[in-house]
Amino acid sequence: MTEFEPKIVAFVCNWCTYAGADLTGTSRIKYAQNVKIIRFPCTGRIDFMLLLKAFGEGADGIIVSGCHPNDCHYTSGNFHARRRWIMFRGLLDLLGIDVRRIQYSWVSAAEGAKWADVVNTTVTAIRELGPYTDYAKVANYLEKEANV
């Protein structure tokens, strides 16, 4: 049996984490292939629905990352995002949507090594949790059921 390769989507801001991930590349630090990045201008732009969509489309894990507090290119987008995440995380947790599958982090443009570490630890953690079958069952309900 081949090892489970989790699908992980990373929602990152352009100014810190995206640039930090660029630095990971420039520094040739290796990390797992499982994570693919979507670039946003700011964590403030990241709609919580997109995270939910990612699970709905089969993501096993999610990374959300942006500028450290006080470092936001737009001064306060990350502060807004943080409040939103606090609320969103609480709601998901209540609903039994596995919040361990969403890793939030602050990775600055200078933290190339941290980005690699965030990716690798997230991949390891999701590998341990296994495929997100609970959610997949819900998402693919129509495919499977006879619809009565």
């Binding site: 489309e57 129509l142 006879a146 619809n147 009565v148």
Partner: protein, 335 residues
């Protein structure tokens, strides 16, 4: 068709149920939970409640699911491969515990799905449904089946109608071939018809109006303040339509996942402002009043005009669930 009468013992009902399950049928029956009684899939007789007036939801979803796959597709740059939905996997379904109004609702529902062309998916599902109804011994102020040509002991639509007698046993009226088939499969449970009359065991449902008179009055009532007045509190949700056993409006939705996708038929409601919204921004039914009028006219004028059967069976579900306490009976009687 000749209706055959039998007696079935109270104790035999469970046996009948078990036989149905044993024959591989899926049984939907009223199930009680904290705030609602719903038609739900049941596995054991004990899950069924007999302490209910009508269920909150209508039984229509077994023939007209609230979300139904029509087909799925897969695209490449050059080709599109379409797979039609099939009802083959749909099991035979027994609706256990429908009321006469519920059963009667299948008549206009089937009409609708066989208007311009027969709806294969609907008809396939309908063909697999057995309706084992139970007459009403009680009613409430929302019931008005008798005003729309129904009754608490009406046999129309059901395959078998059970009426509880004073002894606690049931009169079983077997109405259709399907019903007869079921009786044949369970012959030992059905005994000779009882002596007791059916009528005294039925609820007394007040007659408020006459469907034919209303139909005539509505011909000239398109412009009337009653629509706005009676719908003023309407919040514009779709609960009335979704619990209605006759309402059959639907919306077509595509769900796309990359190069694959499915086309779905989903329940819709004329109470929604979006229902008639044009792309241009114009909405021919701009207010809740206009939408309420549509609902009443459709049920009490257009449908009987077209197919001789009203679009309302007087079950009263819509009025019971309405969060703004809008009452269909009140509107119709005020006309």
């Amino acid at each position: 068709m000749q209706i055959d009468n039998y007696l079935i013992r109270q104790t035999s009902l469970e046996k009948l149920f078990n036989n149905l399950i044993g024959n591989g049928k899926t049984v939907f029956a009223p199930q009680a939970s904290e705030k609602r009684i719903l038609f739900e899939k049941v596995k054991a007789f004990s899950e069924i409640t007999d302490n209910y007036l009508v269920t909150t939801n209508a039984a229509k979803s077994v023939v007209f699911p609230r979300t139904e796959k029509l087909f799925s597709y897969k695209k490449t740059k050059e080709t599109t491969e379409i797979t039609d939905a099939s009802t083959e996997a749909v099991p035979e379904v027994v609706l256990w515990g429908t009321r006469p109004c519920d059963a009667a609702a299948f008549i206009p529902l089937t009409d609708t799905f066989n208007g311009d062309y027969p709806d294969i998916l609907y008809n396939n599902r309908r063909g697999k449904v057995y309706l084992l109804s139970f007459s009403c011994a009680t009613c409430d102020e929302y019931c008005f089946c008798t005003s729309v040509n129904g009754s608490p002991g009406n046999t129309a639509g059901s395959d078998i109608l059970f009426t509880k007698l004073s002894t606690g046993d049931y009169l079983a009226e077997v109405i259709t071939e399907k019903g007869k088939k079921l009786v044949a499969e369970n012959q030992t449970l059905f005994e000779a018809a009882p002596e007791e009359e059916k009528e005294p065991n039925l609820a007394k449902v007040k007659t408020y109006f006459n469907q034919d008179e209303i139909q005539a009055k509505l011909q000239n009532l398109f412009e009337n303040p009653v629509w706005d007045e009676k719908s003023r509190a309407c919040l514009g949700c779709g609960s009335c339509a979704f619990v209605c056993p006759v309402c059959s409006c639907f919306d077509i939705q595509d769900e796309k996942h990359g190069s694959k996708g499915t086309r779905l038929r989903c329940w819709d409601s004329c109470g929604f402002s979006l229902f008639t919204l044009h792309t241009s921004g114009h909405n021919p039914r701009e207010t809740q009043g206009a939408r309420w009028r549509q609902r009443i006219l459709h049920k009490f004028l257009y449908m009987p005009d077209k197919s001789k059967v009203a679009g309302c069976v007087g079950c009263g579900r819509c009025s019971r669930v309405c969060p703004a306490d809008i009452n269909i009976l009140e509107t119709v009687t005020s006309i």
